[in-house]
Amino acid sequence: MDSNILEIRNLHKRFGAVEVLKGIDCSMKQGDVVCVIGSSGSGKTTMLRCINMLEDFDDGSIRIDNQDIGYETRDGVRRRKNEKEIAKQRALTGMAFQQFNLFPHMTATENIMLGLVKVKNMRRDEAHSIAEKWLDRVGLLERRDYYPGQLSGGQQQRVAIARAIAMSPKLMLFDEVTSALDPELVNEVLLVIKDLAREGMTMLLVTHEMRFAFEVSTRVIFMNQGRIGEEGDPREMFLKPKTERLAEFLKSSTFN
């Protein structure tokens, strides 16, 4: 049996004529924390969006927990799964977005409960106590009845992370979750993520916070023009980059 949580093989993605992902191979085991770095437009976001089928992809396969995501090949023909099935598979991964994307018409608690009730078919009281547990974990239990508009950016992002985690995904995806935040709010969110890492959550993070990537990750992936440019131990990659590209990229990013 394959013990990998995530297994990406030869992933290709085109937008019209432009190929944005040109063959990605990557795997993650239980408990891995992988940071994806790379310059703007290198395809980091697109890779994450393919993993939970927010984007269709053109070739290759993505397996999560031994399930083929999004497509199945029968009799040699590649077919997109039906919407219902894809929706179910999306719950295997949790995703936190740069823009938080909390549902503005629901309180913090309701935001978290929605997926539990509608996707996991939980009873409301059960969902409610899980929501509270996670709000507590991200330090926002007191704000459980606040609407997103009444929370600061950092608080919104923490609720958004709690909403994703509460679904107990096999794999959490984070796409630059701090880059829309004021500098003084960044830390509270990073602390939550560190905490999750410590507890063994499997996570794939796109980030521009180099120091954070350095501290938290078990492995770093450097994306370059739709390919994986370099991959390995964070210490080695940051201190002794093998490729010129990475060296250049690291020089231009502030390491604070």
Partner: protein, 220 residues
Amino acid sequence: MDYVLNFSVVWRSFDHLLGGLGLSLLLALGSILIGMAIGLVVSFALISPVAIARNLAGAYVTVTRNTPLLVLVLFTYFALPDLGVRLGDIESFVATLAIYSGGYLAEVFRAGMLSVPKGLSEAGQAIGLTRMQIRFSIIMPIMFRNVLPALGSTVISLFKDTSLAAAIAVPELTYQARKINVESFRVVETWIIASLLYVCTCAVLAMLFRRVERHLAIPR
């Protein structure tokens, strides 16, 4: 001029006017509820990725919005029986106004739908909601709040359009007013009272909508 206002004939038939107003409201309510259902479906078609659905919905909206309501009313009432569809006068008017308002409301809903950030439906997808669940739990509640002001003014103008039911002898407010005119010829007085009834009803409707808007406003 020496025209002397005399409201006594109007007061004598005031309960007829009120009854007419009640029927106007019922006609509006019935047709707008159906119209909203039509509008919702059509608005989803308008932003659908399927070209045929988009074009059909677009044609529907174009025709309903550009044809005088009176023509549509006469069509349903007089031409449809020739084609085997026979509705009573009230039913036929409600059906017509519903179809007519469907075109207007579809546009209102479409604009509201486009104002819901795309990230929200993606967030819904990311926690595993199906497309229908996203529509009903996320897009529609937000869209509905966004469109309330536009919806309010559309509903008010549709309410006023019920006056055309008089043309096919549905005894709503305008019909009652014209009936009084035929009897008394106190046209000025009758229309003053009838228009005040319309204005007040519209004001109440507008107030109700503002209240709903305030009630549903998302705290921030």
